[in-house]
């Protein structure tokens, strides 16, 4: 039963989304192999760990972004919301003297609030996602800096009692905890996307919004939820960001959303909406991490990372274009 299911799925998806995931996975393996041979100490545990940890916050952003892109939308604000949320949490801890747990909750809450904002603008007021989230990018960039009075916020370091929260990204025994958290939320997101109404309508809206409306589904309601969920994941990314970098500079974070979009696209999520998977996205996230750390291990200037990530994204979108063209022809 299951074997025929997999077979037929493979067959039916020879031109479909799964194909792009396979290609992305193959690219990941090839890149990894390439750096293993040509990189300096690329195969060391340290490199592997730093590769993993550089994928955490991008991973959370990309999970939320995948939902948004499958509805046919885009979120240009998730990078600045992530850093902004971390900044607000820092203010809560340093200035308002919140306990660290409550401060971290503030980070997530800030992400959710911006998610609600995007959801209302796009779902209820009907703004195009590109414009709404471009606006929100500037709002979050500025507003969070104002809250922080343009002061850099520093989170407690690992040795202090409050610094214990940082263990979320460090090893617990031999287990890298960041990967565990990412995996946990990946499973939750995967369940939401494939086994619930929210997920079903996410695909349906991206595929044919008009038809969903005419089926008696309240599209605006579900769109708001998609953006709120995305905001929640931006908040989670903010927590990880705070744990990773400790000191948060105001008015930064723009550009990070591009890595999230790139990861989703590399993993086969179609910018036209309706098509995509979280598996693909996570592969995309790792492709980007491998590129980042791998090029570093080859002692190439950091700018080459950007060039190569750009090339990979263009190749991925090219695949998407070719695929869409073929789908439309039939």
């Amino acid at each position: 039963m299951s074997s025929t299911g997999i077979l037929s799925r493979l067959k039916s998806s020879a031109s479909g989304p799964a194909m792009q995931q396979i290609i992305a996975l193959a690219a990941l393996v090839v890149l990894y192999g390439f750096f293993a041979i040509f990189g300096n100490h690329f195969l060391s545990a340290d490199t592997f760990l730093s590769m993993l940890s550089s994928s955490y916050y991008i991973g959370f952003l990309a999970i939320g972004m995948t939902f948004v892109i499958i509805t046919g939308g885009i979120d240009l604000s998730s990078g600045t919301v992530m850093v902004g949320a971390a900044l607000v949490g820092g203010v809560a801890y340093n200035v308002w003297h919140f306990p660290i747990a409550l401060a971290l909750l503030m980070v997530i809450l800030t992400g959710v609030v911006f998610g609600v904002g995007n959801g209302v603008l796009i779902g209820i007021l009907g703004l195009p996602p590109f414009i709404a989230t471009l606006g929100m990018q500037f709002v979050s960039l500025g507003l969070c800096a104002v809250v922080a009075k343009v002061q850099t916020q520093t989170y407690p370091s690992l040795g202090t009692p409050s610094g214990v929260f940082k263990s979320i990204i460090y090893k617990w025994g031999a287990v890298p905890m960041g990967a565990v958290w990412l995996a946990l939320f990946f499973v939750i997101a995967w369940f939401l996307l494939t086994r619930t109404k929210l997920g079903r309508y996410t695909y349906a809206i991206g595929s044919n919004e008009e038809a969903v409306t005419l089926s008696g589904v309240q599209v605006s309601y579900w769109k708001v939820w998609v953006y709120v969920l995305n905001g929640f994941f931006c908040g989670l990314a903010g927590v990880i960001y705070a744990a990773t970098f400790s000191s948060i500079t105001p008015q930064t974070g723009n550009g990070q959303e591009m890595y999230a979009i790139a990861a989703a696209v590399i993993g086969g999520t179609s910018l036209a909406g309706g098509i995509g998977s979280l598996w693909g996205t996570i592969i995309g996230v790792f492709v980007i991490s491998v590129l980042k750390t791998g090029l570093l291990s080859m002692q190439l200037p950091v700018q080459w990372q950007q060039v190569l990530i750009g090339v990979v994204v263009i190749l991925a979108v090219l695949l998407d274009v070719v695929r869409t063209r073929r789908l439309n022809r039939t």
Binding site: S12, S207, S215
Partner: protein, 495 residues
């Protein structure tokens, strides 16, 4: 439904429409485009909750606020444009919006329920198939099954269900409609195709310009009765008696041995002031022949002479400079930029005449567009109107205006009246006759034999990529054309 009215900003879509549906009948709703059929059914199904008049359902006045209200009351609709999600599976499409009462969805459960429905309606698809992998006909069947799957659907509304279907699929569809009637379901059937209506419907209600005209029993009326009420006047569809083209008229276009992957060795001549009809079944290679003529098929070979000058087209631009314009059968896709105005569309092919360097002379463009709106009697509030908002017939006029402004001599009309209602059709015929009176020449590709015989001076019949006959209009009959159009098939079946 009694005295139904509905207006949109600037348009009164319905003035006083009336519609009565009996239990277990198939009731056709007809009218020209813009007569208000779609608006009426949208009121019936709660999509437009605000309207004038009274609406009773099962003897009680109702006021549906949403499509969900109507569905719960037992009224379902299959929309004109297939409204399905191509990236979801059949089962996911059928149950969209009512997957389960809880937040969680089980695809296994959906597939099981969908399979039961598919078996019941004998559709023969796998519920796990992606919708984009189905043929249009199958997708239509799935949508009907979806409409019927609402608890106790008693009224099924089909809005132009056969528009995109092949002949075989249409037969299957009509059988499904019969099946529904046998179950006691009332069906509202909207269509332009009279033979389908006569075949499947019990009664017909005719709307015209948002008003109720009449309700007829199909058993005791003719197609002409219905058409007369639709357009409010007689329509002449008779065959042209004889050619008006003098035998010594100049040959403006000569094609010899046109060959491509779809056609073989097609030769013909077109004379000044002539309408040359191209008849044949779908897939006979007529459109492909025209694509060679207008340079859209760079791999086509053969000789083309325009005014005796040998030509070779590898790009539509060259054909247009030679004075040949092709009006595609899919005007929304190839003929118009739907989101631009009447002016912009009219001047689209003529910017080199209407600009200085890169700067467009706006006022002249506008004047040109206004000139053609007046000449072709295009119904539009202004030349600034977005083309998308015009009716099919008026869109066709804008396409024509574009080529007339470009001053072409040879116009190739490919299915010029597809999806255009009967009244506007007559107007387009008049326009074409006006064009040849001015000395232009026309090639008419049409699958509608009545149309071919009504307009053409000569008829060329194609079958399976070859020319199988050429008839002068005086000798042409429907029977002769059909014989030539099916020649190969007849031969094949004999073998």
């Amino acid at each position: 439904m009694e005295g139904i009215s509905k207006s949109f900003p600037g348009v009164q879509a319905l003035k006083s429409a009336r519609f009565e549906l009996r239990a277990g009948e198939v009731h056709a709703l007809v009218g020209e485009n813009g007569a208000g059929k779609s608006t009426l059914v949208k009121i019936m199904t709660g999509i437009y909750p605000d309207y004038g008049g009274t609406y009773e359902y099962q003897g009680k006045p109702v006021a549906f606020r949403s499509i969900g209200d109507a569905q719960r009351a037992g009224i379902s609709i299959v929309h004109q444009e297939l409204n399905m999600m191509s990236d979801l599976t059949v089962a996911q499409n059928i149950f969209i919006g009512r997957e389960s009462s809880s937040f969680r969805i089980s695809d296994r459960d959906l597939n099981r329920r969908a399979q039961a429905l598919i078996d019941e309606f004998e559709i023969g698809v796998d519920p796990r198939t992606l919708l984009r992998d189905l043929s249009v006909g199958k997708a239509q069947m799935v949508e009907i099954a979806r409409a019927m799957s609402f608890a106790e659907t008693q009224v099924l509304i089909l809005d132009e269900p056969s528009a995109a279907l092949s002949e075989g699929e249409t037969i299957e569809l009509l059988a499904k409609v019969d099946q529904m009637r046998a179950r006691g379901v009332s069906v509202v059937y909207i269509s332009h195709r009279m033979n389908e209506i006569m075949q499947v419907a019990d009664r017909v209600t005719v709307l015209r310009d948002g008003d109720y005209v009449d309700t007829l029993k199909t058993a005791s009326c003719t197609v002409d009765d219905i058409i007369k009420r639709m357009v409010g006047r007689e329509i002449d569809n008779s065959q042209k008696q004889s050619s008006d083209v003098p035998a010594d008229a100049e040959v403006v276009l000569r094609a010899r041995g046109l060959t491509s992957s779809a056609v073989r060795d097609v030769s013909f001549e077109l004379r000044r002031g002539e309408i040359l009809g191209f008849a044949g079944l779908v897939g006979a290679g007529r459109t492909e022949t025209m694509q060679i003529l207008c340079g859209a098929d760079p791999w086509g070979t053969g000789e083309i002479e325009v005014h005796g000058m040998p030509m070779h087209f590898t790009h539509p631009k060259q054909a247009i400079s030679a004075g040949i314009a092709y009006l595609s059968e899919d005007r929304k896709r190839y003929g118009l930029v739907l989101n631009l105005s009447v002016t912009d569309n009219t001047v689209l092919a003529s910017y080199d005449k209407l600009s200085t360097g890169w700067v467009v002379r706006q006022a002249e463009c506008r004047k040109a567009a206004e000139r053609y709106v007046a000449a072709l009697r295009t119904k539009t509030p202004s030349v600034n109107q977005i083309v998308k908002n015009l009716s099919g017939g008026n869109q066709q006029k804008v396409v024509l205006a574009k080529w007339l402004l470009r001053d072409v001599e040879i116009l190739i009309f490919d299915e010029p009246t597809r999806g255009i209602d009967i009244g506007a059709r007559a107007e387009i015929y008049d326009m074409m006759r006006g064009l040849i009176a001015e000395g232009k020449s026309i090639i008419l590709v049409s699958s509608d034999l009545t149309e071919i015989l009504h307009l053409s001076d000569r008829v060329i019949v194609m079958c399976e990529g070859r020319v199988t006959g050429e008839l002068d209009i005086a000798d042409a009959t429907q029977l002769k054309v059909m014989e030539l159009a099916t020649q190969h098939q007849a031969k094949n079946s004999k073998e």
